[in-house]
């Protein structure tokens, strides 16, 4: 696998984590578990930053090619 494939795989993985976490947060919100929702959102903020950087890497690789 190329480095680009690795990055895509990592991005896919992390986006899946975000997706599942959002679904979980929605369920917890229905149960009014706002504290846990807050914790999930904090985790998501960090993951979103990592994902944005990975997208940047992918775009840079494409430009370089």
């Amino acid at each position: 696998m190329s480095a680009r494939d690795d990055t895509l795989h990592d991005l896919n993985d992390r986006l899946n984590g975000i997706m599942i976490s959002v679904e979980l947060a929605m369920r917890l919100l229905q149960q009014k578990e706002t504290r846990e929702v807050g914790q999930i959102l904090t985790r998501l903020r960090e993951d979103c930053v990592v994902c944005t950087n990975l997208v940047g890497e992918l775009r840079q690789t494409r430009r370089d090619e």
């Binding site: 795989h9 993985d13 984590g17 599942i20 993951d47």
Partner: protein, 473 residues
């Protein structure tokens, strides 16, 4: 078409029943997630736990192999690419030995998934990333056929609710195993919260008796009603006795009766109990007929340090009749080595029930081990539950009770002859240690000024009474 409010109510009830039915079928499902994506794993774990599953996590191939060797799982999610190996190899290595376990191979590479399918047993399920929460739940339901709900199935192990591996507890278990198959009366002696009812339940389960296991707390029933509860009454035996009613011993025919707090039974009723034990017959209040009963009697008391006969708590004849086979249940302070296991068991049950993932820091467990626990396991359980409620997911602070200091030798357990100055020194040092050297909190807790605390510490230093790590006041 407009829906009526009753339609909505019906629908809500159906949905609720469906949800409850779903939870029942997956409750207790043992799931292992093998993946190194922390965020994905945390959320998937929580979702599965909300469905009642008991979820474990392994971030590497090595940890997954250890988990699969140590425990049985109903369902295992394995990421195809692990930091130290291949998920495919892991599945292939364990698939044959774990015939009852369902494996789900998770991958984000469609091409790799195709290749893996050809190298995998046909029963292995594939889940492609990105997957949704409902995909996760589908896998769980497929792995748990209807009716297979571990937590709902009564365990065959009569000691399934006993936690701890201390020798004191093992000895009690040995005694119970020895006496259970016999018809002997057992007298359980143990402080409040030591598990007398659990012991009686284990005796009943090991006895092979097919009748019910009934319990009565002799201290909780008014004196005027206790005889009626135990022995029953005949119609017309007293005002308001409109019909005959069997007592506890008759209702427990073929089974076991636990007479909890038997020492609270009024002296005037003790001869009647003795007669039941001696003759295995019971006579209802107002009746003249002796009714034969086949009942195993287990009695219990928390008055462990009291001379029961001399203090006229129990009649001598009843005392010796009960003491055929006494079993002393050890207080928690005599098996502090079991505390970490008990804490973990309480937290596991808490997390399962509330869908949380509360953990406890090792230093807190150490503090809990130093406490005397006069209320024994019951007190520990409630303390851990209280800490779980107050924690933000991890218990890092020990409970704030005075007896924290007992373990450090500053409580009532201080030997006679200890000087006030020495007692004060121990209390100050214990408080200081409790607050990790925070002198402001220590002084506030002890109700002294910081200046006084400094002066005391300085004095201890001058006298060489300060431990090395606290030698700078």
């Amino acid at each position: 078409m407009a829906r009526s409010s009753s339609d909505d109510t019906d629908l809500q009830e159906r949905v609720q029943q469906e949800v409850e039915g779903t939870e029942r079928s997956t409750r207790g499902a043992r799931v292992l997630i093998v993946d190194d994506n922390a965020n994905l794993v945390a959320s998937a774990r929580k979702l599965l736990e909300m469905a009642g599953a008991d979820v474990h996590v392994a971030g590497t191939d090595r940890l997954a192999r250890k988990s699969l060797t140590d425990r049985k799982y109903d369902l295992v999610f394995v990421d195809l690419m692990l930091p130290d190996g291949s998920g495919l190899d892991l599945v292939n290595d364990y698939y044959e030995d774990l015939a009852d376990t369902r494996f789900v191979l998770v991958t984000g590479h469609p091409r790799l998934a195709e290749a893996a399918k050809s190298a995998c047993p046909p029963s292995v399920t594939f889940l492609s990333k990105p997957f949704s929460a409902s995909d996760l739940m589908d896998c769980l339901h497929r792995a748990m056929p209807a009716g297979v709900a571990h937590a709902e199935v009564p365990s065959d192990d009569p000691f399934d609710r006993w936690v701890g591996s201390s020798e004191a507890l093992a000895q009690v278990k040995r005694q119970i195993r020895s006496v259970a198959p016999l018809n002997t009366t057992v007298f359980l002696l143990g402080e409040s919260g030591t598990g007398k009812e659990l012991a009686a339940d284990a005796i009943h389960r090991l006895s092979g008796r097919q009748g019910p296991f009934l319990t009565i707390n002799c201290g909780a029933i008014p004196e005027s009603l206790i005889a009626n509860e135990l022995f029953g009454h005949e119609k017309g035996s007293y005002t308001g006795a409109n019909r005959s009613q069997p007592g506890l011993f008759e209702r427990a025919h073929g089974g076991t009766v636990l007479l909890d707090e038997v020492t609270e039974l009024p002296l005037e009723h003790q001869p009647h109990l003795l007669r039941v034990l001696e003759t295995r017959t019971v006579t209802r209040i107002g009746g003249s007929k002796s009714i034969p009963v086949d009942v195993r009697v287990v009695a219990a008391t928390n008055r462990v340090d009291q001379p029961l006969v001399q203090d006229k708590v129990l009649r001598e004849d009843l005392f010796y009749r009960l003491m055929v086979f006494p079993i002393v249940l050890p207080p928690l302070r005599e098996r502090t080595g079991d505390i970490p296991e008990i804490v973990q068991a309480v937290l596991d049950a808490w997390n399962r029930e509330h869908g949380t993932n509360v953990t406890c820091a090792p230093e807190v467990i150490k503090r809990l081990e130093q406490h005397d626990w006069p209320g024994n396991v019951r007190e520990l359980k409630h303390t851990v539950q209280r800490l779980a409620i107050l924690s933000g997911g991890r218990i890092t602070e020990p409970p704030d009770f005075f007896d924290d200091f007992v373990g450090n030798g500053a409580g009532p357990g201080v030997p006679v002859g200890t000087s006030i100055r020495e007692l004060e020194r121990r209390l100050i040092m214990a408080t200081l240690e409790h607050f990790n050297g925070d002198r402001t909190r220590t002084a506030a807790t002890l109700g002294i000024s910081q200046k006084t605390l400094y002066n005391r510490l300085k004095s201890y230093q001058e006298q060489g009474e300060l431990p090395a790590e606290r030698s700078t006041p």
